[in-house]
Every structure is written in C-alpha cells, then in structure tokens.
C-alpha cells in the first residue's frame, strides 16, 4: 500500500483534506502504544477506550491545526493525556494506573536492571532511590509535559503539593547524579 511510504506528517495533511484512509493508517500506527500508555495511567479500560476515541476524533477534527514543526507521536500523546485529564474532571471514581500509583518502594525487576545498566549515568539508580510520590510527579511533568495544574488533577492532589514534590524530586536527582 502506498500509505506505508507516507510520513505521519503526510498522513495528517491528508486527514486535513478529509482522507479517511489516512486516519485509518495513522490509527494503525499509533493507537496501540497510546492505548498502552493511557492504560498505565488509568486502570479503567472503558475510560482508556473513550479517551483513545476522543484523541483520534480530535486529531481528525484538528488535523489542519498541526503545524508540522513537531513530532506527530508527541502531538498525539499531548492530545491523549489532556483528554484523559478532562475526563478525570468529570469523574470521581477514577483509578490511577500502575505507572502513577503511590506504592511503597519495591524491588526492581530483572528486566529493569538489564535496561538500566545500558545507561552510562546511573539515572536508574537515582530514580530508584527517590520515593514513588516524587517519581510520579517527575514523570507527569518532565515526560508527559504536563503543567503542575494538570498533574495535580491527574494525581488528585493540590497543585502546591505537586510543586513542592517537583522541587524536592529535582533536588534529589541533582544530588544523586552529582
């Protein structure tokens, strides 16, 4: 199929021209990993499915707004995580997924050890030593690119708490890696 040769940006451009085949191809490429990443933040499978639908519908409706100066996967994830947050605002019975649960420190799996040894700097060791609360805040702000207000909604804690935890997390990481 010719669609396989197209870049994600080409697909979005075709979607702006109301090409449903391009949307299908974009969905084939990105729906699975976005779904998995959402499921790690939200334990409710129905909510994940709804957010996934909303994300691609928003991408279809807003394809003409993609400026083409960023990466499409990051753009899609930006839509998805914000859709997830706006869904949270409406529901009180939301259950956080495994990536955001505030657990007690646990053993790092063998797979993780293998993965972490590949990195020169001991980021993994530093991450392992900070608390799960600080890690969740770091993950949402640094990796998911959320602001502190959005992270606060997702974690269900006050914004001030997010800010102070973020400061502590940064300071800890700086010390660990120094």
């Amino acid at each position: 199929m010719a669609a396989c040769d197209l870049t994600d940006t080409d697909l979005l451009r075709a979607m702006a021209g109301r090409d449903e085949g391009a949307l299908r191809e974009l969905y084939e490429r990105h729906a699975l990993w976005i779904s998995a990443r959402l499921a790690r933040r939200c334990a409710d499978a129905d909510a994940v499915s709804d957010v996934l639908q909303d994300t691609f519908i928003a991408a279809w409706d807003g394809a003409h707004r993609f400026r083409g100066d960023g990466e499409v996967p990051a753009w899609l994830w930006g839509i998805a995580i914000r859709r997830l947050i706006s869904r949270l605002r409406k529901r009180a019975d939301f259950r956080l997924g495994p990536a955001l649960q505030e657990r007690d420190g646990e053993d790092i799996s063998a797979e993780e050890r293998v993965l972490l040894r590949l990195e020169n700097v001991d980021v993994g060791g530093a991450l392992a030593r900070i608390s799960p609360e600080l890690r969740a805040v770091l993950q949402l702000t640094v990796l998911d690119g959320l602001n502190t207000r959005e992270a606060a909604v997702l974690l269900g804690i006050p914004r001030g708490t997010v800010k102070s935890r973020l400061q502590r997390a940064r300071a800890t990481m700086r010390e660990e890696l120094a």
Partner: protein, 278 residues
C-alpha cells in the same frame, strides 16, 4: 544521548511485555515511554505483544464520527427549541427552510413592497396577492413530492404523518411570516394593512392542507392562488384593493379557516397517506 538514537538502541521484548501488561516498572517505565515516542520499530514491536481487540473496537466509534455528516445550521437551530434530532432533520429538509426559498420570499415581498411604495393601489394589490400566497406556496411545496428533496425520506419514515405535517407547516410559517409582516409594516397606509393578510393566509394554509390529499399539492396551490388573485384584482377594479381584507372579509376568512380546520381534524386519517401515493 544513546536513548535518542532509534537505530542504535531498542527495548527488549521482556521489557515491552512487562510494560504492556501493566507491570509497575517504576524505573524503566519512563525510559520505555520516552523511547516509544521516538522509535517506530519499538512501537510496532509493542503492538505485537499487545491485545488488539480493545483498540479495534474503539475504531468503530471513530469511524462512525468521521462518517456522520455535520448537522446543518437549521437543524441545530430547531434543536435548541427542543425538537429531537430526527424531527430536526425532517424539518430542515422542508424546502421553506432552504436558503433559496427564503431568498425567493424576501425578493418577491421586497418587490411587492417597493411596488406599493411607488405605484399606489396597484402596488398594494400586488402585495395583497403575494403576502398570503407565500406561506400557501411554501406549505404546498413542503408536501408536494416533486418539489420536496426529502420526499423519499418522508414517504418511508415510520413517523406520524399528522405530526410531521404540523411540524413542517410550523417550519414554513416560522420562516415566511416574519418576512411578510416586516414588509407589510414598512408599507405606506394604515399599519393594520401590514398584518391584515394573515387571516386569508391562515385560511389558505389550512385549505391547502385539507385539499392536498384530494387534488395534489400543485393544483391545490394553483387553484387557491387563482381565486385569491382574482378576488384582489376585482376589488381593485371596483374600488380599493384593501376591501378584500376589510373587517367583514376578515370574518369570512376566519370562518373559512376554522371550518377547514374542523374538517382537517375530522379527516386526520387521510394524512397518513399524504404524499405516499404520489
């Protein structure tokens, strides 16, 4: 950074599996996610260890959204008044709701108004002929079949024809009446002339509804139009065109409208076949 070079570094399968299965991966999780955004190969490999079923199911809803046509302005407008989406679609398909019809009503009434301004009695004659016939023509066109783009839709819709009839007639009157009243009020002469045509219009509309199942919409509208035009023109010949809407005539028209309305209520069942045999 080694992580940002997709070709040099890939996630191993056990990590991908642990990630997809929702294992905590409190340390490796962020690395996996940072890499997945950058690496198409690992995205495909993650898909290989995941169940596709929920994602495939979600696609159906997305496709449904993409394929649903956007509702027109008229449909959304009547939606605000509490009309259901299905009724709104049938109502929006009324020819009187289309731009061309509104433009037609506006143009004709404007010409009649201008004529009345400059041509005195003959202009007034024209206005008095046109004003009541505009809603009559609109109603006739809405149930005509040949002029109705939603004719097939109406014919096959399992929907009370009486309710549909009233709904669509309401739509016609709501669009054409304000325009004509406005033009009428701008006319020279006494202000009551601007609204005096409403009684004959009401009589005409109810008669159209009553006779359309018997004669067909176009003959009905043509006959009523001819009779009314003849009446106004004769009144103009004899004395003043306004005599067709003077108080005595208003009473006659109101009586005709009420009688026709009563007959309409009695013959309600006949609408259930309206437009369906043509």
């Amino acid at each position: 950074m080694s992580l940002s070079t997709p070709s040099a570094w890939h996630l191993d399968e056990s990590t991908l599996r642990a990630y997809a299965d929702g294992h905590p991966l409190s340390v490796a999780g962020p690395s996996v996610e940072a890499h997945l955004v950058e690496c198409p190969d690992c995205r495909v490999r993650l898909g290989d260890v995941m169940s596709h079923e929920p994602v495939d199911r979600a696609w159906a809803a997305i496709r449904a959204h993409v394929e649903t046509p956007r509702r027109s302005l008229a449909e959304r407008l009547v939606g605000w008044f509490g009309v259901s989406a299905e009724s709104a679609r049938l109502l929006a398909a009324v020819p009187a709701f289309r731009g061309a019809w509104l433009l037609g009503v506006l143009t004709v009434s404007l010409f009649a108004g201008i004529a009345a301004l400059f041509a005195g009695d003959s202009g007034l004659t024209l206005f008095l002929i046109v004003a009541p016939l505009a809603p009559v023509a609109g109603v006739a066109a809405s149930f005509g079949g040949d002029a109705d783009p939603a004719h097939e839709l109406v014919t096959v819709t399992p929907y009370s024809a009486t309710r549909l009839l009233l709904l669509r007639t309401g739509g016609v009157l709501a669009t054409s009446t304000p325009v004509m009243v406005l033009v009428g009020l701008l006319m020279p002469g006494p202000a009551w002339l601007g609204v005096a045509w409403l009684t004959p219009a009401a009589a005409g509309v109810v008669l159209t509804l009553l006779l359309t199942p018997l004669l067909g919409s176009t003959p009905t509208a043509a006959t009523l139009g001819a009779i009314w035009s003849l009446a106004v023109v004769s009144a103009n010949r004899v004395s003043d065109p306004a005599t067709v809407v003077e108080p005595a005539m208003q009473l006659v028209m109101a009586a005709v409208a009420l009688t026709a309305l009563a007959a309409l209520a009695l013959r309600q069942s006949s609408f259930e076949h309206l437009g369906r045999q043509s």
